[in-house]
């Protein structure tokens, strides 16, 4: 079991309220991602769940038990930190064994779990090394190993991939997703990277200024963002917003169109625009264009073989099926 429920949880540091009262339910076995820009309170929220920070008010329930005042060790959760937080003076084996040693697990069981974790994480050859002798990816795997052997009710990940290079990040992302499929344990994952959120999550919680903007599955957030913030934050490259006369035609204060929902032509279309920068990725081409009324610059995604460059004229046509409408407050118009 690993059901976590936050009821009117609030966190203030002195006069400053970082997280206004907030309700959230995380179901058993769910992979939940907290995503939002830097300083939005997502890490603080995770630390409140972990017990590393005290709540100012409200209640945190883990599997139906009030855990608000329990110390971190008593909550049955395991955490993986951004900086890995391995014990530098202990070998990989001892690092992984540490939580079991603290829990009083017997030696035979410890050895069994260490080998199982090491095997699952490809660490068998490194068990006697110190963290300083490992690469970033290996260190992160040790940190995950240390979390697995505790057999926690839920895993908490605090931006675990931020310190890794791009290629390794993609690999580790897959490994964590596979781990979740295999263990079926509740996982809460904090990131500022919306690609990580979209690819890994069962449920995404978008946060801004400590408050929840929207909760939903990745596709729900992509298809029906509740407001302009979520619409702009989810999806890469980000959604284009058009205000003014063009939006008024749709009876909205602003309309939003994702770059992939705009057709690019060099002969005809609804809007004429000039290419500022063309990014040729091979599979796709991202064009940053100028000249569309109410949206400058606009980003559009074209096919990989589209042969346009700086200064060329292109014609753009939005897909009417995928136009998002927003009111003056930035809320979605249904």
């Amino acid at each position: 079991m690993g059901r976590i429920q936050l009821k009117q949880v609030k966190k203030s540091f002195g006069e400053c309220t970082v997280i206004p009262p907030l309700d959230l339910a995380i179901e058993d076995g769910e992979f939940t991602v907290f995503v939002g820009p830097s300083g939005c309170g997502k890490s603080t929220l995770l630390r409140l769940i972990a017990g590393l920070e005290d709540t100012t008010s409200g209640m945190i329930e883990i599997d139906g038990t009030n855990a608000t005042l329990l110390p971190p060790a008593k909550r049955g959760l395991a955490m993986v930190f951004q900086s890995y937080a391995l014990y530098p003076h202990m070998s990989v084996r001892k690092n992984i064994a540490f939580p079991m040693k603290m829990a009083g697990v017997n030696e035979a069981e410890q050895t069994k779990r260490i080998y199982a974790a090491a095997k699952a994480l490809n660490l068998t050859d490194y068990l006697d090394r110190k963290p300083g002798q490992l690469s970033g990816g290996q260190r992160q795997r040790v940190a995950i190993g240390r979390a697995i052997v505790r057999e926690p009710t839920a895993f908490l990940f605090d931006e675990p991939l931020s310190n890794l290079d791009a290629a390794l990040r993609v690999g580790m992302r897959l490994e964590i997703s596979e781990l979740h499929k295999r263990l079926k344990t509740t996982m809460i994952y904090v990131t500022h990277d919306q690609v990580e959120a979209m690819t890994m999550a069962d449920k995404i919680v978008v946060l801004q200024a400590g408050g929840i903007e929207q909760v939903g599955s990745p596709l729900e957030l992509y298809k029906t963002p509740r407001n302009r913030f979520v619409a702009g934050f989810i999806g890469s490259p980000k959604m284009n917003f058009i205000e003014g006369a063009e939006a008024a035609q749709h009876n909205a204060f602003a309309i939003g169109i994702r770059p992939e929902h705009i057709d690019v032509s060099i002969t005809h279309g609804q809007w004429q625009a000039t290419v500022g920068v063309a990014e040729h990725l091979g599979s796709d081409t991202f064009l940053h264009v100028h000249g569309v009324p109410g949206c400058d610059p606009m980003t559009v995604r074209g096919g990989g073989d589209i042969a346009v460059n700086h200064g060329d004229t292109v014609w753009l046509t939005p897909d009417p099926q995928h136009i998002h409408k927003f009111d003056a407050e930035g809320l979605r118009i249904k």
Partner: protein, 277 residues
């Protein structure tokens, strides 16, 4: 680009550094020389001492015969090591609290502790003497251990505080998540990580306590007198015995000199710990 150093400046630097080094070590060297002379030779003019007199170990024998060196030596060991380790027991939790859960007044407390080192010890001699007299701690190793622990405590806490601050808080949080109690966190995670810092703190405080003379001279007589009192006993109203005084000094500083020699690497590493990441 590497800096180019001319041969002339190399020679000059070596000469200056060598001269300064020699000047610094000269008093100890001279004491060593005097300790190997007879009392008559020791008071002669320096050049005669060096070139016109014989060498002898008699002073060492005389010193050992007159006052039991080993008794004083053991007193010094017990007092310096005891006060340092007793101090650590209190200072590690104190430094942990100040480094990882600082309060609004932590900085003030640290400054206040340091300020006690600025007070001349003689200012509190009378009250401490009276307390020791009334509690039977005068001339006892326990009493001296306690007083040296207290006077060195600010330095121990300051040093440990600085080392602990270099340890990332996330590692201690990870230990907490892993189920470590406060005791386990300090014992299994913090202390092993701070070993270089703790080691240099230990060494420095043993040296400070070993060389402490004010309290050891004022609070001891015969039973608990350490090596500092042992040296002082050779400067007596009957006159100065240079050779014996020198022999006693060499015998008193030799152990700490040897300890310092073997641990200098550790000491320097500890004192510069965290200076470069």
């Amino acid at each position: 680009m590497a800096r180019s150093v001319s041969t002339r400046s190399k020679v000059l630097n070596t000469a200056v550094a060598g001269t300064l080094g020699f000047l610094m070590v000269f008093p100890i060297l001279w004491i060593l020389i005097l300790s190997l002379k007879t009392e008559e030779d020791a008071i002669r003019a320096p050049l005669e001492v060096l070139f016109n007199s014989g060498w002898t170990f008699d002073s060492y024998g005389a010193v050992q015969a007159r006052s039991d060196y080993f008794k004083h030596f053991f007193n010094s060991v017990i007092i310096s090591v005891g006060s340092t380790f007793l101090g650590l027991m209190i200072a590690i939790p104190a430094a942990w609290a100040m480094a990882f859960v600082p309060g609004k007044r932590t900085k003030d407390v640290l400054m206040w502790m340091l300020s006690t080192k600025m007070l001349p010890p003689v200012g509190v001699l009378v009250p401490i003497y009276l307390i020791f007299r009334d509690t039977g701690l005068l001339d006892s190793r326990l009493g001296l251990t306690l007083v040296l622990m207290l006077i060195n405590m600010p330095i121990i806490i300051w040093m440990l505080y600085t080392y602990f601050r270099e340890i990332p808080g996330e590692i201690l949080e990870a230990a907490r998540m892993d189920g470590a109690s406060l005791r386990s966190e300090i014992l299994y995670v913090l202390t092993p990580m701070a070993v270089p810092g703790i080691a240099s703190t230990v060494l420095l405080n043993i040296i400070l306590a070993w060389n402490e003379a004010f309290w050891t001279l004022n609070l001891t007589a015969a039973k608990a007198a350490p090596l500092t009192a042992f040296i002082a006993s050779y400067s007596s109203p009957e006159g100065l015995f240079y050779a014996k005084l020198s022999a006693a000094s060499i015998m008193a500083i030799a152990p700490i000199l040897i300890l310092g020699w073997f641990s200098q690497k550790q000491l320097v590493r500890g004192l510069t710990f965290g200076a470069v990441k």
